[in-house]
C-alpha cells in the first residue's frame, strides 16, 4: 500500500449483472477493498456502463449514460468494479466526446481512476494479504476486455496463489473468447453456441472442478453451457474465492438447501 495512514475512498461500480444476478460478487468486492484498507461507498446514481448501447451503435444513448456515470462517480479517488468488461467501457467514455468538449476531460479523468478489482488490488495497492481457503482445483478464463483492453492476466492468478489449498490448472485457450459478447449471444445464437461449446470442452479437459473468471457475463454463459451439458464443473467469480464468500451455491447450481444436501450425498 502506498501509504498506511491514507484510506482511499472508492466508489463501487456494482455492474448490472452483479446487482441483479449475483450480489455476492459485489459484497465480495467490497470486502476485498475494505481488507485492503479502502473506504467503500456505492453511489446511488449508477446503473449500467452503457455497453449494450455502445456496441449496438447507439452513440447518443451511450453518451447520456456516460455523463450520468461520470457525475455519479465525481469525487471518488477510485472507481472499482468486479468486471473487466464494464470497467473497460468506462475507459471508452473519453472516445465518445469531441476534443474541446468539457465532458471529454471529465471522461479522461474517470478513466484514470477506474479499475477492475484484481488489477486495482495488485497494480494500484500492491495488496496480496488474501485470507481465504478453497478446497479444489480451479481453471481460469481470461475474459476478453479485461485481458486485452486492461491487461488483466497475472493479477487474478497472483491473488489466487495466496488462497490456501487452491490449485490452478490452466486450460487450453484460456484467452479465447467464450462467445458471450453481450448482445452477440442472442443476435448470433448458433455461432455463440459453437464458441461456448469449444470453451466447455477445454474447461472439462483441464480436469478442474471449478471454473473461475472475472466477468459475470462470460461466467453466466459458460456456467449455463456446462449445466446444460450436465457437467459437474462449477463456476464462480474470482472475488467470491478471494473474499472467502462461498455461502451461495456456485453460478447456476441448485438452491442452498438442496445444494447442501447434494453435497452431503
Amino acid at each position: 500500500m502506498p501509504n498506511a495512514e491514507h484510506q482511499p475512498l472508492v466508489g463501487l461500480f456494482v455492474t448490472c449483472l452483479a446487482d441483479m444476478f449475483r450480489p455476492t460478487v459485489a459484497f465480495a468486492t467490497v470486502r476485498l477493498l475494505e481488507q485492503a484498507g479502502c473506504i467503500v461507498e456505492v453511489p446511488e446514481k449508477q446503473t449500467c456502463c452503457g455497453q449494450p448501447a455502445f456496441n449496438s451503435g447507439d452513440r447518443k444513448t451511450t453518451q447520456d449514460i456516460a455523463k450520468m456515470t461520470i457525475e455519479a462517480f465525481d469525487g471518488y479517488e477510485y472507481v472499482v468494479g468486479p468486471s473487466g468488461s464494464c470497467i473497460g467501457m468506462l475507459h471508452y467514455y473519453a472516445d465518445l466526446f469531441d476534443e474541446g468538449d468539457p465532458w471529454k476531460a471529465r471522461a479522461e479523468d474517470l478513466k484514470a481512476r477506474a479499475f477492475e478489482i484484481t488489477s486495482f488490488l495488485v497494480d494500484k495497492l500492491d495488496f496480496d494479504k488474501i485470507s481465504a481457503q478453497y478446497d479444489g482445483t480451479i481453471t481460469y478464463h481470461d475474459s476478453c476486455s479485461g485481458l486485452r483492453q486492461l491487461g488483466v492476466k497475472q493479477q487474478p492468478r497472483k491473488l489466487l496463489s495466496k488462497v490456501d489449498n487452491l490449485e490452478l490448472e490452466e486450460m487450453e485457450e484460456a484467452e479465447t473468447c467464450c462467445g458471450f459478447g453481450g448482445t452477440f449471444c442472442v443476435k448470433y445464437p448458433d455461432i455463440s453456441n459453437r464458441m461456448v461449446s469449444n470453451k466447455s470442452e477445454f474447461i472439462s479437459a483441464s480436469g478442474a472442478d471449478t471454473l473461475v473468471g472475472g466477468d459475470l457475463g462470460c461466467l453466466l454463459n459458460m456456467a449455463g453451457k456446462l449445466k446444460r451439458e450436465g457437467k459437474s464443473v462449477e463456476a464462480r467469480h474470482v472475488v467470491e474465492i478471494l473474499a472467502g464468500m462461498l455461502d451461495q451455491p456456485a453460478i447456476g447450481e441448485a438452491d442452498a438447501d438442496k445444494y447442501a444436501l447434494a453435497k452431503q450425498v
Binding site: 456494482v14 452483479a18 446487482d19 441483479m20 444476478f21 449475483r22 450480489p23 455476492t24 459485489a26 459484497f27 456505492v42 446511488e44 446503473t47 449500467c48 452503457g50 449494450p52 448501447a53 455502445f54 456496441n55 449496438s56 451503435g57 447507439d58 452513440r59 444513448t61 447520456d64 449514460i65 450520468m68 476478453c144 483492453q149 479465447t176 473468447c177 462467445g179 458471450f180 459478447g181 449471444c185 442472442v186 443476435k187 448470433y188 445464437p189 448458433d190 455461432i191 455463440s192 459453437r194 464458441m195 461456448v196 469449444n198 453466466l220 449455463g224 453451457k225 449445466k227 446444460r228 451461495q248 451455491p249 447456476g252 447450481e253 441448485a254 438452491d255 438447501d257 438442496k258 445444494y259
Partner: protein, 467 residues
Amino acid sequence: MQIKSPEFKENARIALQDVGLQKALGNLKAGFPVKRAAAVERMPEFEDLRDQARDLKNHILENLDIYLEQFESKVVENGGHVHWARTSEDACKTILDICQQVGAKTVTKGKSMVSEEVNLNEYLEKNGIEPVETDLGEYILQLREDHPSHIIAPAIHLNLEDVSEAFHKHHHRPKSDDPAVLMQEAREMLRKKFVAADVGITGANFCVAETGSTIIVTNEGNGDLTQTLPKTHIVITSIEKVVPTLEDMTLFQRLLARSATGQEFTVYNTLSTGPRREGDQDGPENFHVVLVDNGRSEMVGTELQDMLRCIRCSACMNHCPVYGAVGGHSYGWVYPGPMGSVLTPQMIGIENAGLLPNASTFCGKCESVCPVRIPLPKLMRHWRENEFEKHLSPKAVRYGISGWGFFAKRPALYRWVSRSSAWFMKKMAGKKGRINKLPLAGGWTDWRDMPAPEGQTFMDQWKQGKR
C-alpha cells in the same frame, strides 16, 4: 461474385453443420496461429516493427497522392503503363482492352484478391478470354467453380478428398489421395497453360514509388512463371499498396510472412520493374499496372482510413473465433473475417453487409495480432453506428436498445426493473438454480441454461444495511 452477405446468418447456420468444413477449419486453427506465435517469439523486435509499420502506413496514407504519382511516373520511365480504375467495371474493361489489343485467347493468373474483388474472371470469360488460375488453391477452386474463403489460403475450406475428387473429374486420371501425386498432376496441367498464355495477370503486395516496381510474395513460384513467360504482364492492384522505398517495403515483408503463415519470409519475393529491356534474357514485352480505387479513396480522411493500412496477411481471420466457427464463405463476399467485416460494407454498402460488423464479440483478438495495428473492433463499431444512424439496424435491436436506454438513464426505474427481473427469474428457476427456457431469450436458452439470480438485488440489500 454474387453477394451473399445479407444471408450471413443462414450461411453461418449451414456452415456450422458442415462436417467437412468444420474439419478443415480445425486444421486452420491448429496451423497458422501456432506458427505465427512461434515466429513472433523468435523475433524480439516484432512489437517495435508493428509500431513502425503502423506509423509508416499512416504517413503513406497522408501523402497517398504524392507516392502514387511518383510510382506512376517511375513505371512510365521504365517503359510501362499505369491505368487508374475508379470502379470494378473500369478495371475489368481496362484489362480486357489490353488483352484484346494483343489478341489474347488465354491468360494465366497469379493469386490476386483485387481481381476477385472486381470479378475479373467472369468478365474475361464473358468476353471470350480464358483465365487460368495458377496458384494451386485458386486452381482447385476454379475447377470446382468455387471462390476463395480465405485471403491467403483460398481453398482452406476444402479437404484432401475434395481436391482428389476435383482432379479426378477434370484431369481424367486415376483417382489419388496422395498429395504428392496431386501436386504433380497440377504441375503438368499448368505447365502447358503457362507456355500457351498470351497474357499473365498478377496482383501486387506492394508498389514501390522510388523504383516503379511491384512485388508479389508467393510460396509456389507460379507467380514468376505467370509474369515472365507471356509477352504481356498486367498487374492488378489497389491504390493503398504503394510504399515509398524498397527499404520501406522490407519492413512490411518482415511482418507479412510472420503474421500470415509464421514463415520468416515467403519462398518467392518477385519484383517487376517495367518490361524487358534490351539485353534482358527474359521478361514481358509489355508491362501494365492497373490501380484500383473501388471506394478506397473515400476512406481517406475518415475514421475508416486506418483500414487502408491493411497488408492482407490474414492474421485477423486466422485468430478470429467467429471466422474459425463459420469459415470465409459465410461472409458472403470476397473479404472474410474481421478485415472483411470492415471493408465489405464500404465496397458493397452497409445495407447489404450490416450483419458482418455485427458478427463480432469484440473480443479484440484480431487487433492484438494485426501487424499494422488496425483497430478492427473500433471500425466494426463505426459501421454499427452508421447502420444505427441510417435506421438500418433491425427493429428489434433499435426498439430494444431505446427501451433499455430509457430505463438505464433513470436509476430508480432501473432498480425497479432489476428487482422485478431478479425476483421473477428466481421464481421461475425454483430450487433448480437455473432456467431451461426463458421467454424472449430463446437465443440463450435454446443452447444453454440461464443461471438463476440470487433473488434480491445488491442495491436493495446494500440499502438495507447488509454488508
